[in-house]
């Protein structure tokens, strides 16, 4: 398993070096620096040199690296690195060079706890925060008293939740967030449209609540095996696949299709899902781009909102690529502001508020400088970002969220829907 965990900044300085096995030597940090950080040729997140494998993830301005020998479980290694980043973010707000330098002792402490002999141990933020804190003194007092409680939780079946959570007001917030991905061809046909959604829950519930959660889905997990999948009933959606937080009882889901769980305290990602059928595209884009001779490109981009008039999207940004040798650009818009960003080689068209059913147009002319070595323009796709509240591209709705607890308290639940642009690309 993992022989060592290393953190580097962009310059290649080794910030953290923790070995877990005897085969991880300090000089490996030089090897990684030379072979990966200062080697522009490296294109893979995995590099094997002799018997040593470096698996790395770049996050903000640091490299998070795991060293392994032999044929390790790569999925486990990367999941662990992701988790380390998540932990860092939840402890320090941000996991970058500054945060690492500011908290290096704590990071060593965390690493000692979440890896033993290179095997990942309990990595639940909630549990870890009970005994590894940014204020060292606090841990001092509490640990002696509560240590048994801590150890029980760190090894128990509900490792993600403390038993003594108490709230005066019991609330649960559910956010359904969908990233809609689109790839449209120059001819206007949809090459790919799918939704990857996540359901984020913020649970502020006392005690050990049992939650049951229902969606308007028809799960297509067994393919043709089930008669119910022949035609999705009106008002229901077909989810291609879903994955759950470890608190969800997968066995129960497999047999009865009920999502039941004891939530961790606070915010967590309850589930992720994917849907590919009947995707409602919030925006239709129609782009006409003409290259006139070698010195001019004309743009005519029309964007139409495909949702109800009562809704409106915010932070709509359309990025229209321009040739690399663009000298000057003039733009006209029927709504919002357009600006040419030479460093990124695109026009950014921002529309702060986009009402349903509206259609806005951008027209632009790009003047090109002539170049001695005329290369064809690769025409990268036009892309969009936006967020749209109270709308789901997949049509998914939360049917119910029930909370059962011994003390039988009543709880308030809130549901929010949001659709964002994932990779929303239109070729032209």
């Amino acid at each position: 398993m993992i022989s060592g965990v290393l953190l580097f900044n962009q310059k290649g300085e080794n910030l953290i070096f923790r070995q877990f096995r005897n085969d991880c030597r300090p000089r490996l940090s030089d090897v990684f620096r030379i072979q990966v950080i200062s080697n522009a040729q490296v294109r893979s997140p995995i590099l094997t040199l002799g018997s040593t494998t470096f698996s790395h993830v770049k996050h903000e301005n640091i490299y998070v690296v795991a060293v392994t020998k032999s044929n390790a479980n790569a999925a486990l290694v990367f999941e662990f690195l992701y988790r380390l980043i998540t932990l860092g973010k939840s402890y320090f707000g941000k996991f970058d060079e500054e945060a690492v330098k500011n908290n290096f002792v704590l990071i060593y402490e965390l690493l000692d706890e979440i890896l033993d002999f290179g095997y990942p141990q309990n990595t639940e933020t909630d549990t870890l925060k009970m005994y590894i804190t940014t204020e060292g003194v606090k841990s001092e007092r509490n640990v002696v008293e509560d240590s048994t409680k801590i150890t029980m939780q760190a090894t128990g079946a509900l490792s993600w939740r403390r038993a003594d959570v108490k709230y005066r007001k019991n609330e649960a917030f559910v956010d359904v967030i969908e990233d809609v991905n689109l790839l449209m061809s120059a001819g206007g046909t949809v090459l790919r449209a799918d939704v990857s959604g996540q359901i984020i829950m913020r649970a502020y519930l006392s005690g050990t609540p049992e939650c049951k959660f229902g969606l308007n889905d028809r799960l297509l997990l067994d393919g043709a095996g089930k008669a119910s999948t022949t035609r999705a009933a009106a008002g229901s959606v077909t989810l291609e696949d879903c994955q759950f937080h470890q608190c969800v009882k997968l066995g129960k889901f497999d047999t009865d299709r009920i999502i039941s769980f004891v939530p961790p305290d606070g915010e967590f990602e309850l589930m992720r899902y994917r849907s590919t059928e009947n995707v409602n595209l919030p925006f239709r884009v129609h782009a006409i781009v003409n290259e006139i001779g070698k010195t001019k490109v004309e743009y005519q981009v029309a964007v139409r909102a495909n949702y109800g008039t009562k809704l409106f999207a915010t932070n709509v940004v359309v990025r229209v690529p321009t040739p690399l040798n663009t000298a000057n650009i003039s733009t006209r818009t029927s709504q919002g502001k357009a600006k040419y960003e030479p460093s990124e080689n695109h026009i950014v068209w921002k529309i702060p508020r986009f009402t349903g059913q509206a259609e806005y147009v951008l027209s632009a002319d790009a003047q090109l400088t002539s170049m001695t070595n005329q290369k064809a323009w690769s025409r990268p796709p036009l892309s969009m970002s936006f967020s749209l509240l109270m709308f789901t591209s997949s049509g998914l709705l939360v049917r119910y969220l029930k909370v059962f607890e011994k003390s039988n308290y009543s709880s308030v639940k809130w549901v929010r829907y949001m659709t964002r642009a994932g990779s929303y690309e239109i070729r032209f």
């Binding site: 018997s51 993830v57 908290n103 790919r192 067994d222 690769s378 690309e425």
Partner: protein, 710 residues
């Protein structure tokens, strides 16, 4: 914003002497704040490796006595880092650690045990054994799980010590085994993974899990942490189903794990299910399981790019073993503009594998799009894929060629060169068709500057010398720089000139003697010289025979899907989700020390479904059909013919020649081990040669990755 800590100011280089004074300072030190700061500086300096902090050992050990957990942890970290360098000093810390193992606080007991067992010093290792025995039976599960890992650590330090640590259930390994019956799921999964770690490195210990045990550990799956679930699933790879229903039930029971959000759980679960399928007879059941595997694999594409890459590499693998998986999912592999290049390239390979007659339009539009992107390597691969598709899907050849010509029209040098190479292969696959495009190719002669593309173009000119009006002029242009060309191009030129002479003697008669003279007298390269002499003698001995040999009909190349050889495929499927799947190479080739995994025999094993067995079966049938129609000597004749064909087929491309020959001769050796006719697996008498079309960048053997059967 990053709050908390604020320790960055300690993250600076310090001198040993200064740090020592800070540690020893007699000033009033309330709550040991000063000492804490000094220790933090020391910890920071341990990483900035230039400073050897080991000199501070005695002072740090002094600090260990301070009853503050934070200080203690820093001292322990120091100890773990430098214990090995200064064993005599480290021993002073031993009593502190040992007394800590009796602490009332379970976290402290576990911490002491964990630290102690990290230190690779004889005294420490020996001192661990006695307290470890006690702590393996501690009443706190957290301590027990730490103890479980500790046994594996000790085994790493000193395997004999552990193996001889006791008998009659008293040995450490026996006690570890006992923990498998623990009522805490985390302890069980920890004990299991510790046992597997030991087993990886041991020759004496066997890990067998029977159905009853397997059922038990599967039962606790839901109660384990995500990592624990991964460990349990990995352990299931050591379970050998004894009958088909057993295997089926087990696959059913673990399949809910496919919905887990942790990709390690998902991929390991896929591995186990793929493994269990080998023991399932019912084809319906297998199809049902296959259907379950597709969605989770695709869902992994929503994870970080690193896991996406891993999922894609594994998809490449699984697709070869179980083509039902992912069959209808080609669109999800279309590249996003911002995908990292390693993801894009792998997606491209998957698109190539999944392409068929019904989706070819879509695929070509997509590949055409990729061919205009910025990354040169990716563009080249896309062009190459289009060419390979023309060979793989016969009915689509025309469309592929049209797309290629569109790309050639862009006049981008590397696109033209790449297209030239693939078009050469298309000519070899479809001789005497599509020759109308030769003129388009000839328009772009000037942009060729890479040896491979040049050689390809020269081959085309030579092969079609009688149909290209000015073939002699074109060749002469190339010959102008003969001396400066790499051998690959020189060989191509030599062959092409001979072909020109044979087809149009009048046009070639001036060129041939010149080239033959260069090839035999003015070169040091043995291949070029040998081939030069061969042609020379052939032409002077019997021009008719020369024509037959040089211009004789060659078998058209064929394209099977890109495939791993059956042995590798079978082995890789037992390693889904591991690093080896990224390289798609036999595990021991990349990781020499790794324990090789093999499918274990059992009454339930569906032998006839295994790729190796099927391949063996095929070659046996071939052998039978061969011996039925011919005697052994005739077979040998064929072999000779094959070799001749081989010779002439590769004349045009020297780079391919060595690979071809390697593969040609290595294949029989594999088969010879199976007591088969040494030449059977090559594909009967028809002469199919395995050629590595483009040597993959990081892989050092042409057997996998971008492999094309020609």
């Amino acid at each position: 914003m990053s709050t908390g800590g604020g320790d960055a100011r300690f993250f600076a280089r310090g001198k040993v002497a200064e740090l020592r004074t800070e540690l020893q300072s007699d000033k009033k030190d309330k709550n040991h704040v000063r000492k804490k700061i000094a220790l933090k500086k020391i910890v920071a300096n341990m990483t900035m490796s230039n400073n050897d902090m080991a000199a501070l050992f005695p002072d740090v050990i002094q600090c260990m006595m301070i009853p503050q957990l934070e200080i203690k942890k820093m001292c322990f970290l120091f100890l773990v880092n430098y214990g090995r360098q200064k064993p005599e000093m480290a021993q002073h810390a031993l009593p502190i650690l040992i007394s800590d193992m009796d602490d009332i606080n379970p976290l402290v007991r576990a911490l002491a045990l964990r630290t102690l067992s990290y230190i690779h010093v004889k005294e420490f290792v020996q001192a661990t054994v006695i307290p470890l025995r006690k702590l393996l039976r501690d009443n706190d599960p957290y301590v027990r799980k730490t103890a479980a890992f500790c046994v594996a650590k000790l085994y790493d330090h000193d395997r004999e010590l552990v193996e001889n640590s006791g008998t009659n259930g008293n040995g450490l390994i026996d006690m570890l085994n006992g923990l498998l019956k623990d009522d805490n799921p985390t302890v069980v999964s920890s004990a299991l993974v510790a046992l597997m770690d030991i087993w990886e490195r041991s020759d004496t210990i066997k890990l067998t899990i029977d159905h009853a045990n397997a059922s038990k550990i599967v039962q606790i799956l839901p109660d384990c942490s995500e990592w624990g679930q991964t460990y349990i699933l990995e352990a299931l790879m050591s379970y050998v189903p004894q009958d088909v229903t057993e295997a089926m039930i087990m696959a059913e029971r673990i399949s809910p794990r496919l919905q887990h959000s942790n990709s390690a759980v998902v991929l390991t679960c896929i591995r186990v299910i793929l493994y269990l399928m080998n023991y399932i007879a019912d084809q319906k059941e297998i199809s049902a399981l296959c259907r379950k595997l597709s969605p989770p694999l695709v869902t992994l594409l929503a994870k970080g790019p690193e896991v996406q890459y891993l999922a894609l590499r594994n998809a490449l693998l699984i697709l070869q073993r179980r083509p039902e998986v992912l069959r209808n999912d080609i669109r999800v592999f279309f590249c996003k503009y911002n995908d990292p290049i390693y993801v894009k390239v792998t997606k491209l390979e998957l698109i190539f594998m999944l392409a068929n007659e019904s989706n070819i339009e879509e695929v070509l539009t997509e590949l055409r799009e990729y061919a205009t992107e910025i990354d040169v390597h990716f563009v080249r691969k896309s062009v190459r894929a289009i060419g390979k598709l023309a060979i793989k899907i016969e009915p689509a050849a025309k469309k592929c060629i049209t797309t290629l010509l569109e790309l050639v029209a862009t006049k981008v040098s590397y696109i033209v060169q790449e297209a030239t190479v693939v078009i050469r292969n298309i000519f070899r696959k479809y001789p005497n068709q599509y020759e109308s495009i030769i003129s388009t190719l000839c328009e772009n002669l000037d942009s060729l500057d890479e040896p491979e593309a040049k050689a390809a173009m020269i081959w085309v000119i030579g092969q079609y010398a009688d149909r290209i009006e000015n073939s002699d002029v074109l060749l002469e242009d190339f010959l102008y720089s003969f001396q400066d060309e790499p051998v690959e191009v020189q060989l191509a030129l030599l062959t092409a000139t001979v072909k020109l002479f044979i087809q149009r003697p009048t046009k070639g008669q001036d060129l041939v003697p010149k080239v033959l003279k260069w090839a035999t007298e003015d070169t040091d390269n043995p291949d070029l010289r040998d081939r030069g002499y061969m042609y020379w003698r052939l032409l002077s001995a019997d021009p008719q025979a020369a024509k037959k040999i040089v211009m004789g009909e060659k078998p058209p190349i064929t394209a099977e899907a890109e495939k791993l050889d059956p042995h590798t495929l079978e082995e890789m499927c037992l390693n889904v989700g591991t690093l080896a799947t990224v390289y798609l190479k036999p595990v021991n080739q990349v990781f020499r020390t790794a324990r090789a995994k093999k499918l274990q025999d059992s009454p339930a094993l569906q032998r006839h479904q295994l790729p190796t067995v099927i391949a063996e079966q095929r070659s046996r049938e071939l052998l039978e059909s061969m011996s039925a129609q011919a005697q052994v000597d005739q077979a040998q004749m064929q072999v000779q013919q094959q070799q001749q064909q081989l010779q002439s087929a590769v004349v045009s491309n020297n780079a391919l020649a060595s690979d071809m020959a390697d593969d040609f001769f290595s294949t029989p050796m594999v088969a010879a081990g199976d007591n088969l006719n040494p030449f059977a697996p090559v594909g009967g008498g028809t002469g199919q040669y395995v050629v590595s079309q483009n040597a993959p960048q990081q892989l050092y053997q042409p057997a996998q990755g971008d492999l094309l059967l020609l």
